[in-house]
């Protein structure tokens, strides 16, 4: 195909609205892939995905994407982090030691403003302490906007310590009694600390669905005693929100954006590589069998029959489970299992017609060898007619990757769209209403396959005009 014809075809293609739409979609997906590859190195993406909570501890769990606030009546909270090591977060810390003696006083204030319409999802306090022998001792207080002060905990601080406020059972019990006394009625259910600490203290707390958020300035005050001169304490309060970033997070607090971005290059390259290599290998096999005929042809027919009896997905699953393959090795297995697929028969029928054309005879007459005839004369003749089906089959392979992930057989390390769906599915996202978790990767999957489908159908009309008349 000359460059001019290619240009002509491209112009023809642009005449179809569906093709233009398809090209735009594919452009977007490819842009996304390039962006992912450039901004997040693969190792980092894999690390972020595998280590999960170890590195995304500051993210909320199962948080919806932030833009969801645009569609809601109420304003869901973002995550607030106040860190004594980061002055700009508003944290204040003072350490005072007397002229003599080793006992010093510590005071940390962690103020923040909370003006959202819903409660935080969790509250955690992360502490680090410097000491050589005696651990610092601290008391933690919670100051509400109405001035009420609540004692949260008294504790010694290890060198790396954490206090999970939301799951402190003792605190939960105390807060319930506290609220019951405030309101004058017994609170009839266990109110979790992240709600109790932010609740308006009136009768609305008596029912879980009516509890209201008290907006305003909150403060956590930590007062402590240090027993060594070099001793020090730093801390980070994380008020986990209910929304996060552009994509939200999953059950392991991972930013879904990483997998959504990296899913694009993986899905596209898996689909395109599979479809191109399978089409070409099938074509070569078909051309060889059509050209040589006789036993080569017979062998091929038997191979396709064998392939038909061997169930594709089960065999692929078995290999994937037993050998724990990475997605690229899996790709090779997919290709090997598909090269004797039904496409071979279609191509073979085409080649049998091409074989009889006069120009092949002419080539033989001037002494072209078998290999030359197959690769230089037969395959190029058929190539344009298979381009549409090649493009169309990409979607199938993109979904194959997702299907394998749904069966838990995706790549063990790489983040992919299918794996997000699988996680969402196994963690009951549909039951619990975390729709974004399923919808985001699904949307991208649909978009990708739609792009290839639209382009493929338009190409079909251009390259196989006879069929498209109907």
């Amino acid at each position: 195909m000359s460059v001019r014809r290619l240009k002509e075809n491209f112009k023809q293609l642009l005449a179809y609205k569906s093709a233009v739409a398809g090209l735009c979609i594919l452009g977007f997906i490819i842009g996304l892939s390039i962006y992912a590859v450039i901004t997040i190195p693969y190792e980092e993406a894999v690390r972020a995905w595998r280590l999960g909570e170890d590195i995304s501890i500051n993210n909320p769990r199962n948080a919806a994407p932030s833009w969801i606030n645009l569609f809601l009546q109420k304003n869901l909270p973002e995550t607030i982090i106040i860190d004594t090591l980061k002055r700009e977060s508003g944290a204040r810390k003072a350490v005072v030691f007397p002229e003599t003696g080793n006992v010093g006083a510590l005071r940390i204030e962690l103020p923040f403003e909370f003006n959202y319409d819903d409660f935080p999802s969790e509250l955690n306090l992360f502490l680090t302490a410097n000491y050589s022998e005696i651990m610092p001792y601290i008391t933690i207080d919670w100051v509400k906007p109405n001035g009420e002060t609540i004692r949260l905990k008294e504790m010694v601080v290890k060198s790396s310590d954490r206090y999970y406020i939301s799951i402190d059972d003792e605190l939960t019990k105390r807060l319930r009694t506290y609220l019951s006394e405030k309101v004058g009625f017994e609170v009839p259910y266990e109110i979790p600390p992240q709600m109790a600490l932010f609740a308006v203290e009136d009768e609305s707390v008596l029912k879980p669905e009516t509890v209201q958020v008290l907006k305003g300035k909150y403060k956590m005050v930590i007062v402590g005693t240090l027993f060594e001169r070099q001793s020090n304490v730093d801390c980070r309060l994380v008020v986990y929100g209910k929304v996060f970033g552009l994509a939200g997070t999953d059950h392991l607090r991972r930013d879904l954006m990483v997998a959504l971005l990296w899913g694009a290059p993986i899905a596209v390259s898996f689909g395109v590589l599979a479809s191109i290599s399978i089409s070409f290998l099938q074509m070569i096999i078909a051309a060889v069998s059509a050209w040589y005929g006789r036993w080569a042809d017979m062998l091929l027919q038997k191979a396709t029959e064998f392939n038909m009896i061997l169930p594709f997905l089960p065999i692929l699953m078995m290999i994937a489970i037993l050998y724990r393959l990475s997605i690229w090795v899996l790709l090779v297995v997919v290709i090997v299992l598909s090269i004797f697929g039904s496409g071979v028969k279609t191509y073979r029928a085409m080649f049998l017609q091409v074989k009889e054309l006069p120009y092949i005879e002419a080539a033989q007459a001037y002494g072209a060898g078998n290999v030359r005839i197959i690769f230089r004369y037969m395959i190029p003749k058929v190539l344009p007619t298979i381009i549409p089906s090649l493009v169309l089959s990409v979607s199938g392979f993109v979904f194959l990757e997702a299907a394998l992930a749904i069966l838990g057989l995706g790549d063990p390390v790489a983040p992919t769209w299918g794996k997000i769906i699988n996680d969402a599915y196994t963690k009951g996202a549909l039951y619990q209403g975390y729709f974004y978790w399923v919808l985001e990767p699904s949307f991208l999957l649909v978009l990708t396959s739609l792009g290839f489908a639209l382009l493929g159908f338009a190409l079909d009309k251009i390259f196989n005009p006879k069929l498209s008349e109907m």
Binding site: E305, L310, P314, M317, I421, L430, V446
Partner: protein
């Protein structure tokens, strides 16, 4: 006549032999893969070794023995157990044994899975799961088949109409597989509207009354069936319509039209007659293929069929169940192919006399 019969028999025998060879090869390939080329045996050996060691060293009856003697005893027991399991022979040798027992449908016992009735026999497990898969996917395929046949015929008659164009433009919907639509349907009809169940076969606990039971199963079938119809009905209608259109522009159809043959008769005699055999072949193969269960669809809808069974078997590396399923599938498919070949040979004289068309 006699010569023709002879040619027909020779053709049938040839097909039968090829198919038998293909089945043997396919099952053997499965045996090799399902045993990981012998690796599964190593796992069993280690497990046996562990359990024997444990039973010998912790058995109070052997307390008087020295460690040396205990080891000796354990080794002896292990050898005996391995021999009883037949694991003392090399894998290649045993794989042939597996092949023959699979081919004679002596599927043996599952390693880990059990049937709901508690049986460990592979056959019992498969027979228990098969009906649910057949129920669901035969329903789906029959619906798809008749819908696309009638729809395709109708559209080929109304070629160029708005409806025709709509179906053509909706056919790219099939780029998305059925299970994927399933997720969306669950999201809409189960999570959001709460009209239909998330998945499974029947309500829990299952209704006692057979009528209610059937109704409950029906209710659970709505979403899987519609997800497949959504995914595949447009493309199938579209391809059938194109197929009919191709045949309706043949010369003999034009001729019949010119002669004034009524359109219904043309449709039946000149269009459906030559197009139905390949359509039915395709349908038969799809139907048999569907009995292997659509593994992903069954997983999405939690449908307790043969596909889910395969998924479980593969996750537990339960080789006997895997081999059993593939063997039954290979047999079913080979028999179907054979019957179709024979039917074709009877119908089409070109095949019967062994002429090869291009």
């Amino acid at each position: 006549m006699k010569r023709e019969l002879f040619a027909f028999l020779r053709y049938s025998a040839k097909r039968a032999i090829t198919l038998i060879i293909v089945v043997i090869l396919a099952v053997y390939a499965t045996v090799i893969i399902a045993n990981m080329g012998g690796y599964v045996d190593e796992i069993i050996k280690i497990q046996t070794r562990d359990s024997i060691n444990q039973s010998v060293f912790q058995n109070p009856a052997y307390q008087h023995l020295s460690t040396e003697d205990k080891k000796k005893l354990a080794d002896e027991l292990y050898e005996k157990e391995i021999e009883a399991l037949g694991l003392n022979k090399p894998f290649i040798y045993r794989s042939v044994g597996y092949l023959f027992s699979a081919l004679s449908l002596e599927l043996g016992k599952a390693m880990y899975l059990t049937s709901d009735s508690g049986s460990k026999a592979v056959r019992a497990i498969i027979v228990e799961r098969l009906p649910t898969t057949i129920l669901l996917f035969t329903t789906i395929n029959l619906m798809l088949f008749f819908l696309s046949l009638v729809g395709g015929l109708f559209l080929s008659r109304k070629y160029g109409s708005k409806l025709d164009k709509a179906v053509v433009s909706l056919s790219p919907l099939s780029a998305i597989p059925g299970w994927f639509y399933g997720i969306f349907l669950i999201l809409i009809f189960a999570s959001w509207l709460r009209l239909l169940p998330y998945g499974g076969l029947v309500d829990v606990p299952p209704p006692q009354n057979p009528f209610d039971y059937a109704l409950s199963v029906l209710k659970h079938m709505v979403l899987p069936v519609s997800s497949w119809l959504l995914a595949y009905s447009f493309i199938q209608t579209y391809t059938k319509r194109t197929f009919f259109l191709m045949f309706s522009s043949e010369d003999y159809v034009e001729m019949a039209k010119a002669k004034g043959v009524p359109p219904r008769l043309i449709e039946r005699r000149y269009i459906l007659k030559p197009t139905l055999p390949p359509i039915i072949t395709e349908f038969a193969l799809t139907l048999i293929g569907s009995w292997m269960g659509a593994i992903v669809t069954e997983r999405v809808f939690n449908w307790p069929g043969i596909g889910t069974l395969f998924y479980q078997a593969a996750s537990f590396m339960d080789s006997p169940v895997i081999i059993g399923e593939v063997t039954i599938y290979a047999y079913l498919l080979a028999i179907t192919v054979f019957i179709l070949d024979i039917v074709y040979a009877i119908v089409d004289p070109r095949i019967r006399i062994g002429a090869t068309g291009t």
